[in-house]
Symmetry: none
């Protein structure tokens, strides 16, 4: 079964509103095992909307629209949908009553133009709107279906969840189950090249890589008649992938690296302190994204100047003079300094050149040293990171958390 989505509204077309409905609907439809091959957006224009319906019905079994169900003259989605299916509308008194009730509830008198929202074809399935005035509808003709939904997400989402989803389940067979693997320390193209044969040979389950926030995730999705069967199809694929690139997998769920690391610290009951130079507080604030961290997070400090590295962390002025602030030696002293100072089991340090200025031939922009101290043992890794100032700092932060993760795994 194949669906497509049409977002209706000049505001979306002009970019004044960002369309989040389509993303929500795509995900929900995928979970129902309904393929979405096409999404589009048209303004509140009769001819263009009519064309969009005709084009869509050629390609797909179901068209879902959002928006254009309001009381004003430029709300035309339902009207054009009925025209396309050659259906006449008449007043649905039940819907009219509900709209009147809604206005009573908010203490306003219903205006005449709101009546428009209570007109539907006789054979339509009317979808009640519990959070607004415009009901939606499911229209069908010759095995094709048009579902018109309101535009505001707080009206559309509950309507889809409680009324459309059960309907779609009833007409579509099968279940779709997905499993996510999260990777760090491997680029998208390298990952793909290592498992390209697995990806290419798969139609069901499908394997799709996604990149966001400098992390890669791989989604393996199987369609089957039952959850059990779908899982049975996914398991061997996951095993194959792990055999090839398992070392880069940091989670088998869609969780962030800070959540993984924080949970490890809390489980092992290891206290942590953080000394940051180039990342300027990002490592601390990223870890603190995870609410449960408070029991082990002792203190973070942003020692951006040499002076504060000396005074706060006890870094030696001699080491600074000999190796410079951006060096393996200083990363080591920073991590050990704060761990000693605060008596924590674990410490992270970062020092680097985030740019845009400050780079030299020997120490270019992007050079970052990351120190990890755990119970007396410090390791330092050197990185050359790319991107602008913000990218370098973000990459350094993610690498710091991953370096810690790898060390914690050794315990």
């Amino acid at each position: 079964m194949r669906a497509e989505i049409i977002a209706v509204g000049t505001e979306i077309l002009l970019g004044d509103i960002i369309d989040t409905n389509s993303a929500y609907l795509s995900k929900e439809l995928a979970l129902l095992g309904i393929d979405v091959y096409y999404k589009s957006c048209v303004g509140d224009n009769e001819d263009r909307l009519r064309d969009a319906f005709y084009e869509g019905l050629k390609r797909s079994d179901i068209i879902i629209t959002t928006g254009g169900l309001g009381p004003t003259d430029d709300d035309i989605t339902k009207e054009i949908a009925c025209e396309v299916f050659d259906k006449k509308m008449e007043l649905d008194t039940n819907s009219l009553e509900k709209i009147e009730l809604f206005f009573n509830k908010i203490g306003t008198k219903m205006t005449e133009n709101n009546k428009k929202q209570a007109y539907f074809p006789k054979d339509a399935i009317i979808l009640e709107n519990k959070n607004g005035t415009a009901p939606g509808a499911i229209l069908s003709k010759d095995k094709k279906i048009i579902i018109v939904l309101p535009g505001p997400p707080k009206e559309m989402i509950p309507m889809f969840e409680y009324e459309v989803k059960p309907y779609l389940k009833s007409i579509n067979k099968g279940t779709l189950i997905s499993k996510t693997l999260k990777f760090f320390g491997i680029g998208e193209s390298t990952l793909e090249s290592k498992i390209i044969d697995i990806i290419k040979n798969q139609d069901n389950p499908t394997i799709a890589p996604y990149v966001s926030n400098m992390e890669i995730r791989l989604r393996i999705s199987a369609k089957a008649e039952s959850e059990y069967k779908a899982n049975e199809m996914i398991t061997p694929i996951v095993k194959k992938i792990k055999d090839r690139v398992g070392e880069f997998i940091y989670a088998e769920d869609n969780v962030s690296i800070e959540e993984v690391v924080s949970k490890m610290l809390v489980e092992k009951n290891l206290t942590i302190s953080i000394a940051e130079s180039c990342t300027g507080g990002l490592v601390s604030s990223t870890l603190i994204n995870y609410p449960g961290i408070s029991s082990v997070f002792m203190e973070g400090c942003v020692t951006y100047s040499n002076e504060s590295k000396i005074n706060r962390l006890g870094v030696s002025a001699d080491t600074l003079a000999r190796y410079g602030a951006v060096s393996e030696e200083i990363a080591k002293e920073m991590a050990e300094g704060i761990a000693t100072n605060l008596n924590t089991n674990v410490a992270i340090s970062t020092t680097g050149i985030a740019g845009p200025g400050g780079g030299t031939t020997y120490k270019p922009v992007g050079l970052v040293y990351i120190g990890i101290y755990i119970n007396g043992k410090t390791t330092v890794k050197k990185y050359i990171l790319n991107g602008n100032r913000q990218d370098i700092r973000l990459r350094a932060t993610k690498n710091a958390l991953n370096d810690l993760r790898l060390r914690l795994l050794e315990l």
Copy 2:
């Protein structure tokens, strides 16, 4: 002139990524006087993308695509665009060199599949990608134009801004000049309601509000035959807006609040230290976004626990016991503590409940106190911020920087 936008990518189609590029492009095109009547999204599928191009070329003069320019086999946008225009591609050695340089810089060997990104038709205008490997391109045939751009906004936006916009201006007559006003402390709908008459009555200049990162900017754009004329049209509008809502404007350029505050500190030669609890390092790391801050930034500390507030900042255990860590009193002691400790002119402190747990009737999730210390005088403001944990922390950070800005203005 009429354009349409095609977002290419299965990730967008499936809803794993929300397409913000199309909204950005629609707004930019509107400002250039180019109409957008249609937007669509297709997955990484040859046949469906080809159809989308053919359909689009029937309706529009220009098609702009985003996404699908990467190195892997499922990145096909450029290839299909060339096929549709019947153009052969050949290796562009200049682009190849730039891609190789990019990989050298990040210390990775270019894999063979990346070469694909350096192939273009002979007559294409190649758009350099300064923030990634995939160049874009402008292709034209029989008065129709296809512009292929990369998908990641941080690559696409600069490419559009610096390469596509000048091109579109050159083929579309007139000069377009824009002025940006940046606001803080006023909501989008309140701002709009205060100047709705100015917005509605304007066709040229146009006035468009944008919201991102919890800040609002207003862009006033005029189209005229010369820069001088366009500026002459903008000036009275800016004056009108300032008369109404001038108190909320923190910059008359498209700069961030951290840049504004950092520059004020550097100009006035005021040193700063930061003590953070709920924001967990975000205030420090946000200030350090601005490279010039290093001369005045002394130290930041993340004192998340009561213990570290006492030990590090000298906050009194008695005050903690009496008022709790999230209180006006503690915010004051934190700011004064770190300023005294590090002998800085300025200090910021934050303490609050970012959630999701930890809220009570008297101290709900979202309650945040922000302290600003300047040369002996401390002020504390109380906020009730909304959103999830990350939103609350980000809002607290922005408010902290704005509070400091307002205090610095008084000096």
